[in-house]
Amino acid sequence: MLPWKRPAGWWLRNPRYFLFQMREVGGVFAALYALVLLWQLREFSQGELAYATFLAFMGTPGMFVVNAVMFAFVLVHAITWFALIGKAQPVQLTKEPIPWQKAFAGNLVAWVGISVVVLYLIFGGL
């Protein structure tokens, strides 16, 4: 006698699994762009010429497309992250648990605020 198991399946079995994979891939793109930043710092430390070469390479149309794709995936990652972190509230700060929709909205507002702060403090404003 053999027991038979039916596996649940994976990847494209339903649209939610697909969205999940996109979210995960978005996280990996964050690591890729971190490597780009690291490379940028390296070229910067090598002096003006190396940095100019780096910028010229990043400015090519091909790299623009790559950057745009990375940006899109990282956006997906950011938005799904804001939606998900509200669901895990191991330490309750308020008397009633905050509904995740509220936490999501709060995260989005904080995100816009932080982005503006970063723009002015790190990248020197508009």
């Binding site: 027991p3 038979w4 690291l38 940006f71 972190i85 995100w111």
Partner: protein
């Protein structure tokens, strides 16, 4: 589709607490740690990375910023600021620990579970090495002028 598993006695297995207690396993050391770094990195990348990519890589080609805003001069003017260097360190480290953990789990989910040790070494290795390199470029090299020829 079916996965035969033997030996097996359907429905006759009685689960007892003492047996479960005997099975008690050791706690893992790595997983809670890398998960903690992964989720910290998730916060960092979600909040800080979109604006970074947009202004460092997309604003100039889109014509929103003049090219000199990301040129050597502008970068050199801002980089001595401690906050700016810390920002780069945090974004690079966070992005790597977050993304590399996800990469490992994508590989596992794709069914490549046999090589898990290899994936773990590779992924977290890249994250650790990249973060150390970021420490070097943000704090050691500009401050002390050390140079490591291979970096």
């Amino acid at each position: 589709m079916g996965v035969p598993r033997e030996p097996w006695n359907p429905g006759h297995e009685i689960v007892r607490l003492e047996a479960v207690a005997k099975e008690a396993e050791r706690e893992v050391v790595l997983e809670p740690m890398v998960w903690g770094l992964f989720s910290l990195g998730g916060f960092i990348t979600a909040f800080l990375l979109p604006v970074t990519i947009f202004f460092l890589s997309l604003a100039v080609p889109l014509g929103l910023w003049p090219a000199e805003r990301i040129g050597y001069g502008a970068f050199a003017a801002r980089f001595p600021d401690l906050l700016v260097r810390l920002f780069f360190l945090v974004v690079i480290g966070g992005g790597l620990f977050h993304g590399m953990h996800r990469l490992r789990h994508i590989l596992l989910d794709a069914g490549l579970t046999r090589a898990d040790t290899l994936w773990a070494v590779l992924c977290y290795g890249v994250a650790v090495f990249g973060t150390l390199a970021a420490v070097y470029y943000t704090f050691l090299e500009p401050t002390f002028g050390w140079s490591l020829p291979f970096l």
